[in-house]
Amino acid sequence: MSEEKTKEPGQTSELKVSLDPASSQEAAEGKELINRRGFMQGTAGVLAAMALGSCSWQEFFQNNFRRMTKGEIEQTVERLRSEYKQKYGKDFVVDAEGPIDGTFFGYALDIQRCIGCRKCVYACVEENNQSRDPQIQYIRVLRFKDGDMDLEHSTIYYDPEEVPEKGYYYLPVQCQQCENPPCTKVCPVQATWTEPDGIVVVDYNWCIGCRYCMAACPYMGRWFNFADPVIPADKVNVNTHYLGNRPRMRNVVEKCTFCIQRVRKGRYPACVEVCPVGARKFGNLLDPNSEISRIIQTKRVFRLKSELNTQPKFYYFFSI
């Protein structure tokens, strides 16, 4: 990438010098130079300057997560930690832990128990550092009238004094963690993929923000940061994963990761933990005795839009 950029016409020698930083100090000086002069140098100059304005050279030249060496991952994690420290004044944990051997995660939601309280929605926002403004919420709770399962007649805008409401039932929808995901297939840069434990993730530092994956997803499971994400410093969750809930930047896509930062440490996703009626179940599909496996074997389960052959690992079921 550096070579391509340096060959761009219309850049001054100062810019070229700054593109080959011998030390981080020089890089910082280069950043200064570009901030002052870069904007007048045509598109190439502006794009480079924008890249610098919002990130460091290390970030600009950072590789796709799947192509990084162990050392590069460590460096990147350190850089992110200092960035976050600067922004939020807190010490972050940025895990890059791989999958646990022998795990393949699945999820099940009991629509007979769900009372539509949306506690999962807000627990998810807090756990996963979703932007409060503009608002991002990975979980949508759809309300249906009893006797009707037509999405067309459902709504996410219900606001009663008490839930559950008589005559209604609820169907929360989030990323369905498909085994045949239409979203990862369309990404032109492989910034999103399925991890070996079945979690569909995004490398926020590789995403080019084309939003093709959002067009491809039939469940509206993906969200875009249309402006700088805002998270109050006292609300920010410092226990993060590189592929999960670490703070994002503007103009990139993000999504539910089954709380990768928790489940790879043997914990439940935040939505499962917070559900007051125990409607949400999570576990290892490879273990025939896990709760999730038993539900799939013994209950009446269905998957959303199964006719599209997306093969979600997110099941809905009836407990009675």
Binding site: A215, P218, F224, R250, V252
Partner: protein, 384 residues
């Protein structure tokens, strides 16, 4: 040869200056977009592609103008198009440049655009679209320029250029097909999930591109010394007529399938588009404008009398162009998102900065076209 673009009369430079101002304005808005994020546009979580991708889609079609001249001229030795083939090729250059620019302004992180090359992804249609568009741009610049250079030296074009010319013909088909496949392969979007999408793209492309070319030829005939020849314009007009009929027929095929089958995921989009859905009708006026324009276009273009007269022909071609501009540039992309896969309705309204950027990119395209045409016409005037 490029220096010929630097010589011209007052109105030429006034036109170039005007375009430069528009490009500058668009660039100013673009800087604001870069600084704030794509939230500055009318796009949202539910409608995540808007005017930019719409314009891109339409302009892929305009780029087709070249093949409708190249094919008859080089494959069928249809000499009448000899004079204007270069206009088609250079129009394609301008159109494809606009396409690529619209993709870039739509990217959230243009600074990472090179990731497409750093991590090539054959399973993504968008990756292939980038390949075919850049290829088509290269082919048209290369072929157009080489042939024009020979003309300037009053020698026949070199023989080795022929394979590139022949290659450009299927390549033109590929840019529409691949662009249609961007949409036609997504399981959750009933509006786009149609096997006729690629043929539809070809149909409308072969109408919109040559229609613009006729308008340009009529303009040049009236205000400059360059005359494309009435026979060439008439042949183009027949191409536009057939292509427009086919294009409208394809849309009617879509309407039959969705409304006779009554499958909601496919039908709701068309209802939203033509009559509105649950009180939301943002695109209804646009769609009916496009429909009325298409009807006017068909009446004028099918009737030989009106097709043969420059005045009505110009109206007919303008009607074709704007009807398809609405259809591809606005409604096709946005309606795919309304209603959403979870059947919610969020309308889309373009914002001022967004429209400013769109105008800026169009001005950039016209600038490139004007400069290239200036060179081509100067060469032709000197060698004549």
């Amino acid at each position: 040869m490029l220096e010929k673009a630097l010589r011209g009369n007052k109105s030429y430079f006034a036109w170039i200056g005007f375009l430069l101002i528009l490009v500058g304005m668009g660039f100013g808005f673009y800087l604001r977009q870069l600084g704030f994020g794509l939230g500055i546009t009318g796009m949202s979580r539910d409608v995540s592609w808007g005017l930019y991708i719409g314009q891109f889609t339409f302009l892929v079609g305009v780029a087709a103008s070249a093949v409708m001249l190249v094919l008859p001229y080089y494959l069928h030795n249809y000499k009448v198009f000899g004079k204007i083939t270069i206009l088609g090729e250079f129009l394609a250059v301008a159109a494809v440049t606009m396409c690529l620019s619209f993709i870039v302004v739509d990217l959230g992180r243009p600074d990472r655009a090179f990731n497409v090359l750093l991590y090539p992804t054959p399973n993504s249609v968008l990756f292939w679209d980038m390949v075919v568009l850049n290829g088509y741009l290269f082919l048209n610049i290369f072929v157009g320029w080489t042939v024009l250079e020979s003309e300037a030296k009053s020698v026949p074009p070199p023989k080795w250029i022929k394979p590139f010319i022949y290659l450009s013909i299927p390549w033109a088909v590929s840019i529409h097909t691949v662009t249609a496949f961007l949409y036609a392969g997504l399981p959750g979007r009933g509006f786009w999930l149609s096997a006729i999408m690629a043929p539809r793209f070809l149909g409308s492309a072969f109408a919109a591109g040559p229609a613009l070319l006729i308008l340009i030829c009529l303009f040049l005939r009236k205000y400059t010394k360059f005359d494309a020849g009435w026979e060439a314009i008439q042949s183009l007009a027949k191409i536009v007529t057939y292509a427009m009929i086919i294009s409208v027929f394809f849309v009617l095929c879509e309407l039959f399938t969705v409304f006779y089958s009554q499958i909601p995921e496919h039908m709701y989009h068309f209802l939203y588009l033509f009559v509105g859905l649950h009180g939301h009708s943002g695109l209804v006026p646009w769609m009916w404008a496009s429909t009325v324009l298409a009807a006017i276009a068909l009446i004028i273009m099918i009737n030989p009398k009106t097709r043969n007269s420059p005045g009505t022909l110009a109206i007919g071609c303008a009607a074709v162009f704007f009807s398809l501009w609405i259809e591809k540039g606005i409604t096709l992309v946005i309606t795919g998102y309304i209603p959403s896969p979870l059947e919610t309705i969020t309308e889309y309204h373009a914002t001022l900065p967004e429209i400013g950027i769109v105008i800026g990119v169009w001005a950039l395209g016209f600038l490139i076209m004007s400069v290239l045409y200036k060179v081509a016409l100067s060469v032709k005037a000197e060698s004549a």
